[in-house]
């Protein structure tokens, strides 16, 4: 069993912590030793949120250092750029193409990077990055909030050791009952979306 390191990033309130909870749970179901780490409190008031999930035969550290993430799961583009340096060069980045401008952008003091810039920055670290229209795909299912599970679906296609059923069991257990069906669909849509993404990261 090789150790797999995931870094999940997003903006407070976006669902990054639920995504990392599911990711950790999937690892346990697949028979790995698992550690997950995140920070609560002040950071959650609309700030950047990150969570580390590690699967392995025996995991010691709950944290990873720069260059040690095998997978970056970013729910928001600016946060993807902020943390892509944590990714192992050549690692896999699954990025939701949602943009949430921070206050300094809405006040006009800063500029939010455009999509071309997002691609240029990501590609400095890896060619294996995938921008997924996660919010649009979730909206088409009737609830934009399921965008995090769309992204988990896309991510799952990179992990051959764990069959989709295991992911679906975990989703079923971790989301509120009335949203189970929606999230199962979101997961499938995410899997399909990824298969239509080219290596250049364009759909």
């Amino acid at each position: 069993m090789k150790t797999m390191n995931f870094l999940v990033t997003g903006v407070g309130g976006q669902g990054a912590l639920l995504a990392s909870n599911i990711l950790a749970d999937v690892g346990v179901r697949a028979g790995y030793d698992v550690k997950k780490s995140e920070v609560h409190g002040m950071a959650q008031r609309g700030g950047s949120v990150t969570s580390t999930v590690r699967w392995g035969e025996k995991v010691y550290s709950p944290l990873i250092g720069q260059g040690e993430a095998d997978y970056l799961l970013a729910l928001e583009k600016l946060e993807a750029l902020r943390y892509v340096g944590m990714l192992r060069p050549g690692g896999t980045a699954v990025v939701g193409d949602q943009g949430i401008p921070p206050l300094s952008v809405s006040s006009g003091d800063d500029v939010y990077p455009d999509d071309e810039q997002v691609r240029r920055v990501l590609s400095q670290v890896t060619d294996d990055y995938h921008l997924i229209p996660s919010v649009r795909l979730a909206e088409e299912l009737g609830n934009a909030r399921a965008h995090n599970v769309v992204l988990l679906g896309a991510l799952s296609t990179f992990i051959d050791d764990v069959p989709p059923d295991v992911w679906l069991q975990s989703i079923e257990e971790r989301v509120p009952k009335r949203f189970v069906e929606l999230n199962e669909q979101a997961f499938q849509v995410g899997r399909e979306a990824r298969s239509s993404v080219q290596r250049t990261g364009r759909i």
């Binding site: 903006v11 407070g12 950790a24 749970d25 346990v28 030793d33 698992v34 550690k35 997950k36 780490s37 995140e38 920070v39 609560h40 409190g41 002040m42 950071a43 959650q44 008031r45 609309g46 700030g47 950047s48 010691y60 550290s61 709950p62 944290l63 990873i64 250092g65 720069q66 260059g67 040690e68 600016l78 946060e79 750029l81 902020r82 892509v84 340096g85 944590m86 990714l87 192992r88 060069p89 401008p101 921070p102 206050l103 300094s104 952008v105 809405s106 006040s107 006009g108 800063d110 500029v111 939010y112 990077p113 810039q117 240029r120 920055v121 990501l122 400095q124 670290v125």
Partner: protein, 603 residues
Amino acid sequence: MKVLLSGNEAVARGAYESGVQVAAAYPGTPSTEILETLAQYDAVYSEWAPNEKVALDVAIGAAYAGSRSMAVMKHVGLNVAADAFFYASMTGLEAGLVLVSADDPFMHSSQNEQDNRRYAKFARVPCLEPSDGQEAKELVGVALDISEQFDSPVMLRLTTRISHSDTLVELGERQVEERTEPLEYRIDRVKYVMVPGNARRRHPVIEERVEKLKEFAETFPYNKVEMGDTSLGIVTDGVAYQYAREVFPEASFLKLGMTYPLPPDMIRDFASKVDRLIVIEELDPFIEEEIRLMGIAVEGKSIFPMIGEFDPRVVRESAIGAGLLPPSAAVKFKQPELETPLPLRPPILCPGCPHRGVFLMTKKLKMVVSGDIGCYTLAFLPPLSALHTCGCMGASIGQAHGVSKAGIAQKHAAVIGDSTFFHTGMPALLNVAYNKSDTVTIILDNRTTAMTGHQQNPGTGTTLKGEPTKAVEFEDVARAFGIERVHTVDPYDLKEVEEALRDCLEAKGPAVIVSRRECALLPQARKLWMTLRVNEDRCNGCGLCFEVACPAILKSEQLDAKTGRAKAWIDPLLCTGCEICAQVCARKAILFRDEMVKEGESA
């Protein structure tokens, strides 16, 4: 059965399994979830106390009465509870008492990164440190056993990374027979009445206890030697062990589950078997200094940082710097070059936050504001920049009284949240009344302890267990203290806030303004959410509404024809309809709720 639990959940489970009967805490990151989790077990009585000192006194009282007990706090909470901590060390207890201190290296959510192992030594109290959730669970029971065996409180020291990391934990059953009859309270006046004569008898007992604990530590099973390559011996504790194991898979380890007092023979023996002895510990050189005092050559903070939190990279790069690892051991990474700096995303006051209304008005009146600890501390950030001090819980009112007595050119006030007021603000307000200053105290009553995630407090009318209780009214407290000028305002009504402020600033004597409006994220407040809209014909892009610093107000892509400035746009996914921006707009371009309703009806 093994389940993923955070360190905090594991501590709660440990308290349940090891028969804790009474637990008390004040919420504080990273410790809060311990009592929230424990509250789900009906077999354990658990409560939010108004502050950490009260929580610890409660736990001590329960332990005096013969019940296993636990007090939980973040590291700085022990500053508040220190008085109780020291007397409990002197008296000992009738049943086990564990004090959980959750330290916060890197200050993720704190004002300092004090290392509370120092408190353990200071008070002669044993200190246990888990390195993952399984140990966190087990060490609660171990701490209670040690507490009973040595007649001492025991500190269980966590750090943020232990508290907020999920690891696999084996669950067990509750190991206690529930009592059917109440215990007889055992009276021992010499042991428990710390007047000087008795205290002088107790002090030698405490020092002897430390010596006995040192002997105990020599065979304590959580102090573990793991021999590997003997060219490097690493002494480590807590989560630092996990980083060290990852970075030095071949080295020899002495992993300390008890960091005070240390086992001298075990350390000497380990040191004699390795060529080079180092300590890897976060924050202070606590273990390092103790080992050096034993006369053993050791390195630690000359290699690894004293500031901030460790991770594998920090440990690895420090080790490479000191020649413990070759430069080739470094992990390759690529920090991408950016064309423009990335906009930062600091935490901010939420859309609809009631605090915003108060700070807009103190700013308008150019007031100096002595601040406190809570969500409202975020008002210090631009563009509001309206809060000017933040030191510790309850500091605002005392500071403002001092400012008033010193005298300054500007108008000034103290702001303090509801829970913080109960915590340590009350004695300070009493001082304002008693010593007659012109201090204006603004109590930001959002009906919850918001920053730590909506905990109950004495103003909310419910307990930790969700039971109804008496809700304290701030106006009654202020009047009972002798303060006659007491206003109650709705912070969503800017004019009302301004008038109350002006009245208090112009008058002599102490004044209190209770700003009452529930946190916009509470379920009952969410029901009132409504999206407002900008009338683009009226908006000329003046930018006044951007000064409100609401995440829901953005620059639209539409520019004003005359000024060329971006018009305002309200994000319907974020707006809660608080109307603060609508009141600020000079051109009435932002529709109020009733205008939105009318628009909806006519459409």
